[in-house]
């Protein structure tokens, strides 16, 4: 125990004295939080913008339609009727624009009067495959349907009410920050993989493992102290994140016991993965290359920044093989959705992987000389 403590103190000093290691372990997650909080913290500010070119000269029905589109909650940006709309879209890189044709009002009036050949049509131009186009299409369809009801003198029966998440989830506000927080904690437990893999590679090339082996320190005590430090720092960093979220964004996050378990298990998992990479790589450069190969796919493909649901199928399949997916899902289950059984399942996966990688790091560590 005293040996482990001596090693922990000496290692902790060295780790925190390295500017790179202490920045990426403690400050980087907070920086991410500030960036995300600044960009997404105020959801009212970002709303969809719909460009509308009205060629029907401000006629009543065309104006009604534009009003209805606007009332779905999007901002209307008028486009000059003299513009060629497809060129305009290209030049301004906008996802979609609505065109109301000349004679729209007359055509609507004629159809309402029972003329079966009358076909009042509006056109939505744009890249039909983009997510923004699809969102705008939804708004336009909503407006068109409403106009049809008005024309038919009918009253809509069914409607939708938006509601935040019910009690039982930790974050009742359901804010955007609430969605990103688990992702940021995910990056926080993942990032030490860089430092730890580099340190392991350095320990081998500079013969530090052998130097440690000249003392009574045992290999498992060494592994334990090296892991404990990063787990402890992960909790310090979590505390900083929660504190900044509260002080800067006024959002109070309460960590559930499952979240605490996930942070501990996830930290162990990625420290062990880093040590194993460092031990198995032939050279320090190879260790850092491997760490990159592991880090970036996990950062982008596990629902950290973008919900997995909007990803193509093959990425969703890939994500199943990336350990961070289970960490992120578990944290979201417990913090955002209050889904206890889902969170426990994900925690179990992370814990089993942590044990497996810890064993791999112990096995790959050549403690004595060859």
């Amino acid at each position: 125990m005293s040996r482990t403590l001596a090693d922990l103190i000496a290692y902790g000093k060295q780790y925190l004295r390295s500017p790179v290691a202490s920045f990426f372990t403690l400050a980087f997650p907070v920086v991410l939080l500030l960036v995300f909080g600044g960009v997404f913290g105020n959801p009212e500010q970002i709303s969809l913008r719909v460009h509308v070119q009205n060629l029907d000269n401000g006629s009543d029905y065309s104006m009604d339609l534009v009003d209805y589109v606007s009332e779905t909650g999007v901002d209307i940006v008028p486009v000059d009727p003299r513009e060629n709309l497809t060129n305009f879209i290209r030049e301004h890189s906008i996802p979609a624009a609505l065109q109301i044709p000349k004679g729209f009002h007359e055509e609507v009036g004629s159809a309402k009067a029972g003329n079966l050949t009358a076909r009042p049509l509006v056109t939505l131009y744009g890249d039909t495959s983009s997510a923004a186009f699809q969102a705008i299409e939804g708004a336009v369809w909503g407006a068109v349907t409403r106009l049809n009801f008005v024309l038919a003198d009918a009253i809509p029966v069914v409607s939708v009410e938006n509601q935040g998440l019910p009690d039982g989830s930790a974050q009742e506000s359901g804010s955007a920050l609430g969605f990103f927080l688990p992702g940021i904690i995910g990056i926080m437990v993942l990032t030490p993989i860089f430092m730890v893999s580099a340190i392991s590679a350095e320990y081998r090339t500079r013969h530090y493992f052998k130097l440690m082996a000249t003392t009574p320190l045992r290999k498992w005590e060494f592994l334990f102290s090296r892991t404990i430090l990063i787990v402890a720092l992960a909790f310090v960093s979590t505390l900083l994140i929660v504190l900044v979220a509260w002080l800067v964004f006024g959002e109070i996050f309460i960590l559930t016991p499952i979240a605490i378990g996930l942070i501990a298990a996830g930290s162990v998992l990625f420290v062990a993965m880093g040590m194993a990479l460092g031990n198995l790589a032939k050279e320090p450069e190879a260790a850092s290359a491997l760490a990159n190969v592991v880090y970036f796919p996990m950062m982008f493909l596990t629902g950290t920044f973008f919900p997995l649901e909007i990803m193509p199928d093959f990425i969703q399949t890939t994500a199943l093989f990336l350990p961070l997916t289970y960490f992120n899902n578990g944290l979201r289950d417990t913090l955002v959705f209050g889904n206890v059984s889902g969170a426990l399942g994900n925690l179990a996966v992370v814990a089993v992987l942590a044990v497996v990688f810890f064993a791999l790091s112990a096995w790959s560590l050549k403690w004595r000389a060859e």
Binding site: S2, K13, H207, Y208, P216, L217, R368
Partner: protein
């Protein structure tokens, strides 16, 4: 600390038939080594002789291919963990940690040996390797010699009964080397056993009670420095300083074996020769010279004789 290893033996090290192979290379080739307690043993040998491999096997840090070794009466593989407590090691490739100071290193290693050092003990350890003025500098800023001194302090911090120092004074300036010799002699006075490897023959001569000369994985000669001199050297040289080359022929005419060395002439005499006869010849020759120096053979001559002989036998060729 010493209680962890029960040891009735008078031998600090008892190794028999040690072999270590790397592919076709026999880095250690059937080595026997018996080291009594309380002495300083120097392992002397050219680069690649297998010194580091041998000591690391004895330290338990490398696995031998075959053979057995006991350290302080305990089998090194079976009692690995007990042995760690009583053995101090300076590896040849020692490097301190960049971001710890010497004081922190010493406290760290003391902790690993289960000791906590008082202020005075710390000061004394730092002073013993003259690092007191550099105690609070990050180790990456230390000079090569200062790093080496720190490594020696770390080898001693656990209060070991047996100390392995693999090239302790490589990279040290002459004054620092002599200082370290004092530290090592102090260890012997305290009853500890020291095994050191070195390329410096004067170091072995100055410090060692026993010298083992290692070539190509084998110990080819061992004994006290004096006994090695007796065994392997049989000449004494008399150097006539400034006698000039014309003196050489005169001396050879008188039946002496002599060679010229610049302005000097060196007369070789057999160990059994009566020196007064030789000196008589010199004075009768009536030569002018500035000084007479008798040159005792040194361990270096022994070393060169043995290693040179090995080269001639082809044993140093790969």
């Amino acid at each position: 600390m010493s209680a962890t290893v029960e040891d009735a033996s008078t031998l600090a090290i008892e190794a028999r038939g040690l072999v270590k192979t790397y592919g076709d290379l026999r880095a250690v080739d059937g080595l026997d080594l018996l080291v009594p307690k309380g002495i300083i043993l120097a392992l002397l040998g050219p680069n690649g002789a297998g010194k580091t491999t041998t000591v690391e096997i004895l330290e338990g840090l490398r696995q031998s291919t075959s053979g057995s070794a006991k350290v302080l009466g305990q089998d090194i593989t079976r009692s690995y963990e007990e042995i760690r407590q009583v053995v101090g090691i300076l590896p040849q490739d020692f490097e301190p940690f960049d971001r710890l100071t010497p004081r922190e290193h010493i406290r760290y290693f003391a902790g690993l040996f289960g000791r906590s050092l008082g202020k005075e003990e710390m000061a004394q350890i730092l002073a013993s390797v003259s690092l007191q003025d550099r105690a609070d500098v990050h180790a990456r800023k230390l000079s090569g010699g200062e790093k080496r001194k720190l490594g020696i302090a770390l080898a001693l911090v656990g209060n070991p009964q047996l100390v392995f120092l693999d090239e302790p004074t490589t990279g040290l300036d002459p004054a620092a080397r002599r200082e370290l010799w004092r530290v090592i002699e102090e260890l012997r006075r305290e009853g500890r056993t020291v095994v050191l490897t070195t390329h410096y023959i004067e170091e072995a001569e100055a410090l060692a009670d026993e010298v083992s000369i290692m070539v190509r994985g084998k110990i080819v000669a061992s004994g006290s420095p004096a006994s090695l001199l007796d065994e392997y050297t049989d000449t004494k040289d008399i150097r006539l300083v400034g006698v000039g080359s014309e003196g050489l022929s005169t001396l050879i005419e008188r039946g002496l074996t002599a060679t010229s060395d610049g302005e000097d002439v060196v007369i070789q005499t057999a160990a059994t020769d009566d020196l007064s006869t030789v000196l008589g010849h010199i004075s009768q020759a009536g030569l002018a010279f500035r000084d007479v120096i008798t040159e005792r053979p040194s361990l270096e001559d022994v070393f060169l004789t043995i290693v040179g002989a090995r080269i001639e036998e082809g044993e140093l060729k790969p």
